[in-house]
Symmetry: D2
Subunit: 459 residues, 4 copies
Amino acid sequence: MDSGMQEKCGVFGVFNHPKASDLTYYGLHALQHRGQESAGIVASDGKSFRHHRGMGLVTQVFSREILDGLSGNMAIGHVRYSTSGASLLQNAQPLVFKYSEGDLAVAHNGNLVNAAIERKVLQQQGAIFQTTTDTEIIAHLIARSSKKYFERAGPEVLKRIDGSFALLIMTDKQMLVALDRHGLRPLSLGKIGESIIAASETCALEAVDAKFWRDVEPGEWLIIDEKGIQTGRFAEKGDISLCSFEFVYFARPDSVIHGRSVLSIRKELGQILAKEHPTQADVVVAVPESSVPAAMGFAQQSGIPYEMGIIKNPYAGRSFIEPTQELRDLAVRLKLSAVREILEDKRVVLVDDSIVRGTTSKRIVQLIRQAGAKEVHVRISSPMVKNPCFYGVDMPTKEELFANKHEHERAMGKVIGADSLAFLSTEGLLEAVDVDLADTSSRCIACFSGAYPTKLYLK
Amino acid sequence: MDSGMQEKCGVFGVFNHPKASDLTYYGLHALQHRGQESAGIVASDGKSFRHHRGMGLVTQVFSREILDGLSGNMAIGHVRYSTSGASLLQNAQPLVFKYSEGDLAVAHNGNLVNAAIERKVLQQQGAIFQTTTDTEIIAHLIARSSKKYFERAGPEVLKRIDGSFALLIMTDKQMLVALDRHGLRPLSLGKIGESIIAASETCALEAVDAKFWRDVEPGEWLIIDEKGIQTGRFAEKGDISLCSFEFVYFARPDSVIHGRSVLSIRKELGQILAKEHPTQADVVVAVPESSVPAAMGFAQQSGIPYEMGIIKNPYAGRSFIEPTQELRDLAVRLKLSAVREILEDKRVVLVDDSIVRGTTSKRIVQLIRQAGAKEVHVRISSPMVKNPCFYGVDMPTKEELFANKHEHERAMGKVIGADSLAFLSTEGLLEAVDVDLADTSSRCIACFSGAYPTKLYLK
Amino acid sequence: MDSGMQEKCGVFGVFNHPKASDLTYYGLHALQHRGQESAGIVASDGKSFRHHRGMGLVTQVFSREILDGLSGNMAIGHVRYSTSGASLLQNAQPLVFKYSEGDLAVAHNGNLVNAAIERKVLQQQGAIFQTTTDTEIIAHLIARSSKKYFERAGPEVLKRIDGSFALLIMTDKQMLVALDRHGLRPLSLGKIGESIIAASETCALEAVDAKFWRDVEPGEWLIIDEKGIQTGRFAEKGDISLCSFEFVYFARPDSVIHGRSVLSIRKELGQILAKEHPTQADVVVAVPESSVPAAMGFAQQSGIPYEMGIIKNPYAGRSFIEPTQELRDLAVRLKLSAVREILEDKRVVLVDDSIVRGTTSKRIVQLIRQAGAKEVHVRISSPMVKNPCFYGVDMPTKEELFANKHEHERAMGKVIGADSLAFLSTEGLLEAVDVDLADTSSRCIACFSGAYPTKLYLK
Amino acid sequence: MDSGMQEKCGVFGVFNHPKASDLTYYGLHALQHRGQESAGIVASDGKSFRHHRGMGLVTQVFSREILDGLSGNMAIGHVRYSTSGASLLQNAQPLVFKYSEGDLAVAHNGNLVNAAIERKVLQQQGAIFQTTTDTEIIAHLIARSSKKYFERAGPEVLKRIDGSFALLIMTDKQMLVALDRHGLRPLSLGKIGESIIAASETCALEAVDAKFWRDVEPGEWLIIDEKGIQTGRFAEKGDISLCSFEFVYFARPDSVIHGRSVLSIRKELGQILAKEHPTQADVVVAVPESSVPAAMGFAQQSGIPYEMGIIKNPYAGRSFIEPTQELRDLAVRLKLSAVREILEDKRVVLVDDSIVRGTTSKRIVQLIRQAGAKEVHVRISSPMVKNPCFYGVDMPTKEELFANKHEHERAMGKVIGADSLAFLSTEGLLEAVDVDLADTSSRCIACFSGAYPTKLYLK
């Protein structure tokens, strides 16, 4: 993955389990790839909340002692990534409030496109905000709803917000689970005996040994409490527009989304890529780890052997002291290394899952050449990223996008030093991800095509 | 001081100084005795806020780097003490909000007696709360005010809140300074050239070399901005009811309140105590540090020499590992030690400023006897504390108060092991603290007398 | 890898480079897999030392500020893993001493088999020890050597120590590099222009973009100083007995040892394994990450397709809160997950690089069955581990070793729940690792065979 | 105290008490004024050591958990102050070693004047050093002693070292207590039932409620073990040369040294000062806290009333962010404040215990003038400091000493802005501190007079 696009959140919830916080901790650990900046858990014992949030990874934020303090049969948790500056603990989720009906906690993956206007209206009505998140709007809307009880106010409020949201809301006794009408973010349900689990991805259900139950449907809400599970809709069942970048890069390969394993889809992306762009070469290598399945698919389809030509330092994920000017050239070498025995005198197909800024791609191509490769053919298992995302993905400005800086693949290939460069087509992408879905369904491919599934609003 | 009563906050503000945050840091350091649990500073550069808050002492919460980040010509700061449980960073002040008019920061010393009812009404109107502080109510009231501009909404809101408040409120461009109608907490103003400083005590003005300007009057507000200083009243000028415990114990001895140095008043309390309770003895000693002035006053009046018979470990303020059961008897020795050369075979007058729970007094009397004293006569430079404080002082429940557990001084004396025990009379207290004030003025002596200066409200 | 065997150290040194400490930091980061408990760097500016050591990963121990303080043209560094208890910072290397000739720093990978007797003799001569490491012995021997200058004393001392040692010793102006007579640990040399680099593995040379120069020979020493490079031998050139577990598991796959890439050898181990134990199956999967190359080799040889049937949580390396009793069964799921789409109804070959205790193997087999596999055939790309290592590898006691608890592969297979279990033969191992070496050369296979290449000593 | 002279260590030891480490923790807390840079405790259960050392105050270095880990019936502890640079944890005491007879721990207050030559000789014999402390020499000498058992080797070694040392040495089963032949540092013994306590000052005995037993005599050693207490001498009983600065400033006022309370001596210093330098004035004030007793003595003798004219910020001891250039003038105000009500229009006698650099004195005089004083007469309760200390006190170089920069008191007074300045005479000092001692005894007054009680050695 050429650094640049970043999923921003993961959510996890447990209803009716004596170890609710422990399970949430493990669930968040399994969802850590969706957000590394902050983590938080709110637990309820049916009467009041206990919560803890902190900056950093799940493993850094929680200790055994803290976790033991988060007692109760219900819990929701959140991992978050964000770009904004300094003191951001206040933005860490789940957000926790007190309102007329008691305690309220909100964990949200996604982005409300009508946040700016709703925030303005709320402020004009006298609301005060303590965070800069769009998530706080949801709590205000619930507190101000004309519907008195949470089970009415909660679903009502969902009609008023637009954009992407995989949402867990907890009161002292109830949990609301909801997914935006376009199903832009994944959200699945599982069971452990009588306990209900909700998670951004099925890999988190697997981590806590929950049995997969079903995906939450776009436009659907569930309220889970002592009386059982109520479900309803705040929007008609329409097209599903799940973010296709979840398949390309964001989701963990062992997750299953809408019935398909992400791993299989990534392999298929590589196979279609090989069909679309046949290449004469001796070896296929991947940019580890994310691109390995696509590279294996490319190899299977093309008959060119897949080899581990690039190795990732297993400790590369840790934030290390960046090289100063004198040693700047080492940047890529500290994370990746090329295996000369595999690459020397070879024509190499380098498979990556995407190019966003292009800067890393250039360095990797150079690394492969230094290891003796004769030719380097870069193949990308997704289309060119050309448009901003309004649904919660952090990415560069339009001007910074590699695909907007250069006219065509040939020019781009030169810039990164490759002998050739080719991207998967949008059709190829849809073919791979769309198979098991009924004909009305679809995917959000706005970052590739510019066709946004929701209304957009001025800020 | 027999542990038990604890001032809960100090506030400090700077308008129009290039080093506003640095000055606030030093001002808070000088006010540290008013609150040791958390500290915070919010600065404004006229356009937006930067803020930092943390648990611990001012010196622990801020670093040079953090302080350098708090740029701007205006700043308000707060130190806080609180009894409540675990994760309290969210309650640290100044509280910071965004509302329809922009940014808002609130720093508050005191306690709103009508907080519970106002909070309930606000929640019924749809307000959501992120803290358990009464201070957050003030921000909600401003945001919901029918008056549009802050300079109108701010003063308006002051009419609606009751209780004790020395208050600093900041927007991006303005600072509001206000004191409750009873003047229950001290609040003074100073100047450094063209800069305006507000502080809970004059010792903080001295620390930053500001010239004392004047005390804020009860029921008065000031709004300071680029246009200058506006002042007004939200309540008629009436009786001043400044907390008399500020003179007895809370305030720093080098502070000047309403024209009198706290040090002088404490000496005078000791002198009146000596007149009210003449004692045959060889030496007067104090419980250091707070009771030294009263002991010196007692010595001057009685002619009995003052000596440093009890020495405080200079590192006693640090929180150390408390002795476990086996070594429990060491508790007082780790903080105080008795000087045998001064106490042996002597009749000792032990002056303390107050008795709240009585537990420490007993241990100190024992320590003095172990050092060889023949007689120990305890003299307290304030009346018996019998009633709860509703104005922001943390103290034990009525049942835990020493004076409510025993019928008269003789019984109390026996409990603490003294040969005699005597308290200052309420008249004596008022005589010492009241001198420079006009006849209509007064002091809050509710914790001694039970006569509260404000309405009280059900919770 | 079935947890249980653990390499204990990595060393890295730089001579004559203006950024010696920065390079050492990056080199140690590349060697982090060889030791995660502590890290340290000592730098010399030709006159005196600056050093820093700490518990934890390289990225945790050093900050930009600390690194900037480690100025000088020479540096040596060390990463360490250890089993011993609490306060072990004192054992972190490089060890630093002052002796009659000036400063001395020692970084050591390996284990001295005659440490106990040498330590006893030294203590009887009046030596005092501050660590419990065998490495401190080397410093004492140098300080007590009858040879006056370091360039004589250093090589002299090497004759007196026995066992495994890849050794870097630094004085204010000189660096000594040495490898034990059996070459039990890897140690390579590289160059960056005029600068000399020494590293436990070539992956660290790659990380700092050093050109590989040559391996240090068994029994060889080099002293590098302003006058140039002197080399010599403290032992005759004999058999090389490099630890074969370096190839099986310890070394990074992108390292090259004695001319062979570790990756290729691991693939070859898998190929030979497939030849030795042909298996009827539908899919080959690996225990990630370490066993992937062997699994790919097995697949290539057998013609059974390799698939990513087990996925590792990318954050699994972080130490997380272990599940308490109620959730104990989650232990393996928090690290690994099985992909149902790949495994369901399949006959699975599971390739792992070794079995030490057997506990993890059992859990992984179970995980694969839960994902629907029809049959699970476990194939291990190394022989059975039956004997303790005396050369610096941390492993369980003889009684705890899986291979010593059960009579034959069939019994072992039952214990871990596999349909069949097979190990690579010792001959197969030697065939894979031995190819490019002359006929006199060999490998240490003592943990498999019990034939130790050195004398052993009583403790 | 005008900053500049700094005691460097305190020692505390416990033999035969089930809570040995807890008592040592409290004892060190009481000795914290003798060293704030690092703290350490070593405990023995009769078989092996457990130890913990860290940078910072006793309360920062130890937690309940750490203390609980330091089990055993014996313990020694140390607090240390030092000027040297960065990574000094290695120099923190007690130092711990392993040698031929087992474990060895050394805690040392003082300075060996023959350290450089002994270190050189030891290094030439092959010793290696891990610290830069003179204390490590003692351990080497014990390990190399020709006497086999510790009870012989320990006392033997004391004959070979010269300078100042209050020394606690512990083996697994024994404790050695020793004081240098001149008795330059204080060292007292106490008892709690059958337990023996050793401490630098009696205030630490008081803190743990130990009964004072006796002072250790100069030149005396004690070895305490299961068999009881052996004592002996390594030097003839000669003149006592206890550091007179202990009385002037270092020791806590509640300590008793050679039978005299430090508090009383300080008062007497003030009385003699008043006799030597009669002054016309209205009020006597002290630089708090250390100079209060001397100021009270001055007031008693002169008949001029003592008042609390300068108040210290109770949090001044914490290290705060120093004012940057723009606010430099605040430096003294952040620590001290002057009480106008006491000082205005007054002729003030300012009593300080010493002037070392003179910089602080100047600022305090200015502060008093700003508070309205008409005249400021500075009176110092010790003679001029003119000579370096070789016995473990940290002080400025000879050139930096205030008394060496100016010819006479008149010139010095001008520099600090005082109307007059006067120092106590050496005779006056000796009169105050010498009373209860036999005629042969004496005090070390080398820093005032230049007459050193020991041999001096080249470095």
